[in-house]
């Protein structure tokens, strides 16, 4: 596993016939094709390791990851704008809800940036941010359902993100699946 980390530019899945492959940068395009067909990261540690381990280190921001980052970016922008607006204009109405909005916005920003950055630290930050997001949407969603008197004001996470087509609920789940599939190779010391 150790040496495998150093060959990340080695495009692992060239045989998949992606028409876009010649057009762009190093490992991304070829792998995007295979990403939804479950690369054998876990299945064959012996044979598959040298091929797939590089893909697990630095490729969270290619293929489906780009879509994930784009959606996170949209949420980061809209949540930040909305929280900013709420806090600037009507903070006193519901400080808790609006602080929660701001917190959610911050989580989306951190998730977006860390998903886009390569490396182990960014990976850990992504996992933390996405987990916080998942807990947030579940807790706030549940509170807004069961205690609607104290949580009457809208946040991104209210009612499990119903105001946003439940994407806030779906996003962390997809995010965790993606992060798991592109987790960095284990360091064996």
């Amino acid at each position: 596993m150790e040496e495998a980390e150093n060959v990340s530019a080695n495009s692992p899945h060239d045989g998949t016939g992606n028409p876009a492959a010649p057009a762009s940068r190093t490992p991304g395009p070829a792998d995007a094709e295979s990403a939804d067909t479950a690369p054998a990261e876990t299945a064959a540690p012996g044979t598959g390791a040298t091929e797939t381990a590089p893909a697990t280190t630095d490729t969270r921001n290619t293929g489906p990851g780009r879509l994930l980052i784009a959606v996170y970016a949209i949420f980061a922008i809209s949540a930040t704008a909305r929280a900013g607006y709420q806090i600037l204009t009507k903070f006193s109405e519901a400080p808790l809800a609006y602080l929660l909005s701001a917190f959610a916005a911050a989580v989306y920003v951190v998730a977006t940036v860390s998903l886009a950055k390569p490396g182990r630290t960014a990976f850990k930050v992504s996992v933390a941010a996405v987990l916080v997001e998942l807990v947030g949407v579940l807790v706030v969603g549940a509170l807004s359902v069961f205690d609607s008197v104290n949580f009457p004001h809208e946040t991104v996470w209210s009612l499990f993100g119903r105001g946003y087509g439940f994407i806030p609920l779906l996003l962390p789940i997809l995010g965790l699946i993606w992060l798991y599939r592109r987790r960095p190779a284990r360091r064996d010391h």
Binding site: A20, S24, R25, G28, L67, A73, I74, T89
Partner: protein, 117 residues
């Protein structure tokens, strides 16, 4: 909901459908998908132009005007950002990124309509 919203509704949905289909067909972003996103941008520019004319001719925005312009400005940036992001890596996934533009523009146009009236 006014004509501007319906224009963006039609153009945005068409663009998203085109991009999703292209993505499902495993195509990289091409002229068709990028031009469809450009059409969304154009529709938003029409909204911008129309709104400026309406405000200039004395019409009042019912909600917060800076919120309206904020939405519009953000919506105008989205297609450009998405196209840039999709050109950096030309895979079918970038078509799904492009597909997000139409739907997002649609939601934002609905919100802008709410603010205006």
């Amino acid at each position: 909901m006014d004509a501007y919203f319906y224009i963006i509704l039609v153009v945005g949905l068409l663009s998203s459908i085109i991009c999703v289909v292209a993505g499902l067909l495993k195509k990289a972003p091409n002229d068709t998908t990028i031009l469809s996103v450009a059409a969304v941008e154009l529709a938003l520019l029409v909204y911008l132009g129309g709104s400026i004319v309406r405000v200039a001719s004395g019409e009042r925005i019912a909600g917060e005007s800076w919120e309206f312009w904020g939405y519009l400005a953000t919506a105008l940036i989205l297609p450009i950002g998405a196209v840039y992001w999709s050109i950096l890596e030309r895979t079918r996934w970038s078509n799904f990124v492009l597909a997000a533009v139409g739907v997002t523009a649609l939601v934002m146009a609905a919100r802008m309509n709410q603010i205006w009236y």
